[in-house]
Amino acid sequence: MPSVKASKASGSVRAASQPYTMPPSPPASSASSSGSLHLLENLSRPAQTLYNKMMSSMPEGHIYTQTDLTDLVGISDPLKLMGLIQENMNMGLVRMLRQGDDLCYQATKKEDAEKIQSMTKDEAMVYSYIEASGTEGIWTKTIKAKTNLHQSVVQRCLKSLESKRYIKNIKSVKYPTRKIYMLASLQPSIDVTGGPWFTDSELDTEFISSLLSIVFRYIMSESFPSEDDKPIVPIMSKKNNRNSAKNKKREEIVYDQLSYPANYDAYPSIAQIHEFVQTSGITTVDLAQSDIKALLDVLVYDGKIETIDHGMTYKAILGSTVDDQPSAEASEFDSIWSYGPFL
């Protein structure tokens, strides 16, 4: 898909060629339907036809070249066509875009057009940049640089747009100090929010650690047979008696081992762990499989689980513990170092 962006040209065209005085329209929210009708009424009939055809023939947001439009309305005279397009553009119903070296056109929804029509010139310009930034959002400084407006004007525009709920202020994980705006109707992208691990643009360590421990417990429960899985016991008691004298010096083996065979293939996979996390209702945050993979990677790096089958499935490591409390072994080591310097 070729990169299409609302070009600066389109913005300046609209801004410069607005001979139309702003209708003293009420706020968009209160009268959107009547406003849009009003907008269309201001158009000539062929211009209305052009707009309606642009909206209906293709899915919303489709980009038309001039030839497409010629075919659409059957007007071959470019001047006449341009006139119709200009009429629409004046109303903010059609936007001009640049794709490579060609100019193309995009119909906007009546409601959106109405919104823009209701704004002042400056607000419309600021809004157009915020809209163009999409889900990434745009920094106030960038707006100022691009619009060439005075700081206070930009501030005023942003304030009024925000109060109308057209735009919203978001926090970016990457740049926590910047004031970034985006359209109110959009969800910030993962780059901005940092994904599911971030709450209010801060890494939610508690959430992560609780998920880690839950996932680990789940893998642990699937990795080792439980006491219910009865061992096969071929007890050879008579042999025990016979050899006991010979081996009395050897330490006794405690028979507490229960293992799945080496080729056991039902260790949990990422998909299963994902399903477990989703269905268990631990969290309302929507986690993708890649997020679960990130969690599992951390557990691997913590030395609590290991990958089996070339990373397809996961198995808990015997002797690893859920929490990071120092184990008995830890205290043993501590005492080693407590008697001498260590690095």
Binding site: P231, N243, S259, D265, G319, D324, I336, L343
Partner: protein, 611 residues
């Protein structure tokens, strides 16, 4: 050779051999290779005193000597060998190992103790010093220890430094290659080096022969049947006995191998379970006769077969106890999307348990029909006479299921790619196995290092270290992303790890200006360097521990010197007053704790340096 290792051996020497020996070694370590006159000059001790001190040092090979071919005996030079002195620290472990391993060989611990004292002993001298009944016992013990390679014979050249030996061989080889106009001098040297290295390698492995220090017994005395694990020593035939003319010494290389085996078995027991650990111990036991030292062992891979392991395995060990049968709980849970997989698994688990099909790919042994096993057993009868009474003909069924169970454990040991305890290399004899010690010990070192870092720097630091180890070089931003930690939190951990030499930082400038803001900073981990620094830290701790022991004794000079009296030694209970006894008890308690710590620390030295 590090500062702390030097400090430690000097402390040890001062404690055991006295001040002059310690001074001599200290001088040698400080100045390197010296003649007697130079030692005397630097240490300001009279030459005759030094000569007397040198005798036990040379006997124990703590100090190696070298007499150049062209100069007289007067010009002998001396070099201290820290490694040989460090081995003193393992003497306690050596004795206790021998006690554990050969509970039936009564003379064995005494032999080890004597060898620790004298360094080396001629077998005939040792036997002559004992009464007739003791001598028989000692002879058997000596034979046993030699068969297990815990003792080794000593040749004259082993009192010389290796570098000198090598240069002598090299010079001889070089002289043997004729000069010619067509061959350049550099090429000659390279060829001589290659040849010399080969010859030197042979020299180093001179004691690897199975009958080293043993001769055929004159009569059929019943030695060689001391296998404490319930099997005879089939490697060397029982009709061998100790060669009385041989000079014997302790084999610390072999001891390191045995200690390594213990560490590995402990790890298996922790990672997999006790029963598998018992099996693994047996696997290592089977390989042990062919393992002479930890690194630089013989060139060919060492393989063992399942049947060989099974033959030696204690019949007491219930291999089947660790196996799992299908559970009703799991079946009821299989209602989710996992159902098909679960059922498939259950299906073949049923199969493998009953031994009726061959769906266990890890253990092809199930394919082997009983005839084949029977054949093998027949063949084994010839070279293995004692074990056979365990395997009656009607036991074939038991053995069959037992070998299945054994293969279950062996498969468990070999299945983990992250920690490959062993590897399957063939299907001969019910499955042929080998251990890649290089990979395994590297992994063990990693685990041990991680454990230490976790203890000392916390689990977060360990997580970061593991990520860095896997990714190679990584910058802080990515590191934070992978570790799911806030970037500002990890900085302190990274610098702490940097401080102890675990991590290093590489700067990669993005432009030519090398501005800090336009520079990538990559963290990376160099294992060898990090381990070496860790070893130094451990050695430093060892030094402090031992210094503390010496200090504790020094604080109570009265009672300690009284303890040294012969009559007090013989009858401590009556010769000491109650107050003195209490004091001795307290000192010994403290001593014991420090020595125990020392042993734990020595285990780390073994893992990081000697394994």
């Amino acid at each position: 050779m590090s500062q702390y290792e030097k400090e430690f051996v000097i402390l040890l020497l001062r404690d055991i051999y006295g001040d002059i020996a310690a001074t001599v070694v200290d001088t040698l370590l400080k100045y390197g290779r010296l003649t007697l006159q130079l030692i005397s000059r630097y240490s300001k001790v009279a030459p005759s005193t030094i000569q007397r001190a040198l005798v036990p040092l040379v006997q124990n090979r703590f100090v190696l000597y070298w007499v150049d071919d062209n100069s007289g005996v007067d010009n002998a030079t001396y070099v201290a060998s820290t490694r040989n002195m460090y081995n003193m620290a393992r003497s306690g472990a050596f004795v206790s190992y021998v006690l554990d391993r050969f509970p039936d060989a009564a003379g064995a611990p005494d032999i080890v103790k004597n060898l620790l004292l004298y360094g080396h002993i001629r077998a005939s001298d040792y036997l002559a010093a004992q009464s007739a009944s003791q001598a028989v016992m000692s002879r058997n013990a000596l034979t046993l220890l030699l068969q297990h390679k815990l003792l080794t014979t000593l040749k004259r050249h082993e009192f010389n430094p290796q570098s000198d030996l090598y240069m002598r061989i090299f010079k001889r080889r070089l002289a043997a290659i004729p000069r010619s106009k067509t061959v350049s001098e550099a090429k000659r040297e390279v060829q001589a080096h290659t040849e010399a290295q080969e010859e030197f390698q042979v020299l180093k492995r001179i004691h690897d022969d199975i009958n080293d220090g043993l001769v055929a017994a004159a009569n059929t005395t019943s030695n060689g049947t001391y296998g404490s694990r319930g099997y005879p020593l089939s490697e060397s035939s029982p009709s061998k006995t100790v060669d009385e003319s041989a000079v014997l010494a302790l084999n610390h290389d072999k001891f390191a191998v045995l200690m390594r085996a213990q560490i590995l078995v402990q790890l298996v027991s922790k990672r997999i379970g006790n029963v598998t650990a018992a099996v693994y111990r047996q696997v290592l036991d089977c390989m042990e006769p062919k393992l002479f030292r930890c690194v630089d062992n013989s060139d060919k891979a060492i393989n063992v077969t399942s049947l060989e392991i099974l033959r030696r395995l204690d019949a007491d060990i219930e291999l089947g106890s660790a196996l799992v049968v299908q559970s009703s709980r799991k079946r009821s849970r299989s209602s989710s999307s996992r159902i098909s997989k679960r059922q498939k698994r259950k299906h073949y688990r049923d199969g493998s348990v009953s031994g009726s099909d061959d769906s266990m790919p890890g253990s092809d042994i199930l394919d082997i029909d009983s005839n084949r096993i029977g054949d093998d057993k027949q063949r084994d009868h010839s070279d293995n006479s004692e074990h056979d009474d365990d395997d009656n003909a009607d036991d074939t069924v038991v053995t069959n299921s037992r070998i299945e169970h054994l293969n279950f454990h062996l498969a468990l040991l070999s299945c983990n790619q992250n920690l490959p305890f062993m590897k399957k290399v063939g299907n001969k004899g019910g499955g042929e196995w080998t251990i890649d010690f290089g990979t395994l010990t590297a992994r063990v070192r990693e685990l041990e290092y991680d454990k230490l870092i976790t203890q000392k720097q916390g689990p977060i630091a360990c997580r970061l270290l593991r990520i860095i180890r896997e990714k190679g070089r990584i910058d802080e931003k990515q590191l934070a992303q992978i570790a799911l930690l806030p970037p500002k939190d990890i900085r302190s951990h990274l610098t702490a790890l940097h401080e102890i030499g675990c991590l290093d930082l590489q700067e990669v400038p993005r432009g030519t200006d090398r501005a800090p803001s336009r520079t990538y900073y990559f963290w990376y981990h160099k294992p060898m360097g990090a381990y070496a620094l860790m070893t130094q830290a451990v050695l430093k701790t060892i030094v402090r521990c031992y210094a503390r022991v010496v200090e504790e004794r020094g604080r109570r000079p009265g009672v300690m010197s009284k303890l040294l009296r012969e009559d007090v030694r013989r009858d401590e209970a009556n010769m000491l007053t109650p107050a003195e006894r209490e004091e001795v008890r307290r000192v010994r308690g403290v001593e014991e704790r420090f020595i125990a710590h020392l042993m734990k620390l020595d285990r780390l030295v073994l893992i990081f340096r000697d394994m």
